[in-house]
Symmetry: C2
Amino acid sequence: MYKKPIIRLSRYKNALYRFKSLGLVRIFSDNLADAVGATAVQVRKDFSFFGITGNKRGGYLIEDLLSKVNEILGKDKITKVIVVGAGHLGSALMNYKGFPQLGIQIAAGFDIDPVKINRKAPIPIFPLDELRDFIRTHTIKVAVIAVPDIAAQQVFNIMISEGITGIVNFAPLRLKTDKKCAVHNVNLGLELETIIYFANALEKENHEDGHFKS
Amino acid sequence: MYKKPIIRLSRYKNALYRFKSLGLVRIFSDNLADAVGATAVQVRKDFSFFGITGNKRGGYLIEDLLSKVNEILGKDKITKVIVVGAGHLGSALMNYKGFPQLGIQIAAGFDIDPVKINRKAPIPIFPLDELRDFIRTHTIKVAVIAVPDIAAQQVFNIMISEGITGIVNFAPLRLKTDKKCAVHNVNLGLELETIIYFANALEKENHEDGHFKS
DNA sequence: TAAATTTTGTTATTTTTTTCACATAAAATA
DNA sequence: TATTTTATGTGAAAAAAATAACAAAATTTA
């Protein structure tokens, strides 16, 4: 399925835009590796995997590279995304400044709390009742779930039945479906837990180092 | 290094607490697999990898399993964590209800904006100036970076120099580190981009299916 | 122009992760 | 008690991902 190379391709793309905005025209695998935290070999390997080639000793032309990467990632058009749940996390996403550059347009937010509704805002926030209709009339294909876990499954079901094909889910539960939909679960608690494990492992290692080596 | 099994172990643990709270005593690899989106074999393989065994045909005693998993994950004590940046995302994290159960205590937040400072709140928010001192006096080892990208590197440097060993970074840039600190970069924009890629791939697949098969 | 250097691109190798296949123990049933 | 059923546990195989090794092209330098 080759998931990791795809993810890195997105990272390369973002780095490329940054390099481009600095006025650079040409880039080396080494620079890209530094920018995304990979190795130069890995960058070239990824490119090779997707059939992208550069110039021996000359690196890559940023413009060429961008158009190839964008083609592979299907970023030739703007993707409309909705965010369901306008709490802290939902707001954080809706206020994320980087989306336009990524070809992502947050089309609307939804919330069950009447206080949060604001149809006139730059990114309007509608009541949850209107979710189904909005997805249908705007042919939304990608959505973010940022509601409490009790509400998540219900929201998810609406999305699935309306033909959403990609969901990033921030509610700490695993959403189930038989339908064809890519679901990416992001669990903020888990991210912290995982890093705590590795932090502890490092702590131990450091102490052992201190004991045995120095 | 075997990173994936560790991450799943955290997921199993959380699922186990949920099962336990439902009054269950015994659990099967199959149930755990469903709960975390893995397969039953994978669950058993993971357990086998960490030397955890159950009872043939009898599944696993939740209580036993939890104590073993917690031991492996080093969750016998509470980990104090600080959150730097009290914007939308930082607030989302500080308000996350699930942390106490995970043995995580958000000890404090930090922000550069004077308006956000609140020393009396349940989770106090201090000015950024006091970050270094706080880490030192409270021997903080794990931190979250939820500041804009321009501020991230500076915050990171303070953390590293004060001996933080685990960082979850939400700023959309890659923080460089030596071996002494585990950094996990979470890029919300990238999460969306990745799911858009897979959503598009599914769209295409569905259309092809419609064309060739039905 | 020849040699040295730099950087890509690819093949081979290793490591990590997932899946498959099936033996084995415990419990249930006949 | 013998048979069948249900799960676990693990060795082997396959797939995915990361790393290593090095040939080849382009450029620079001598």
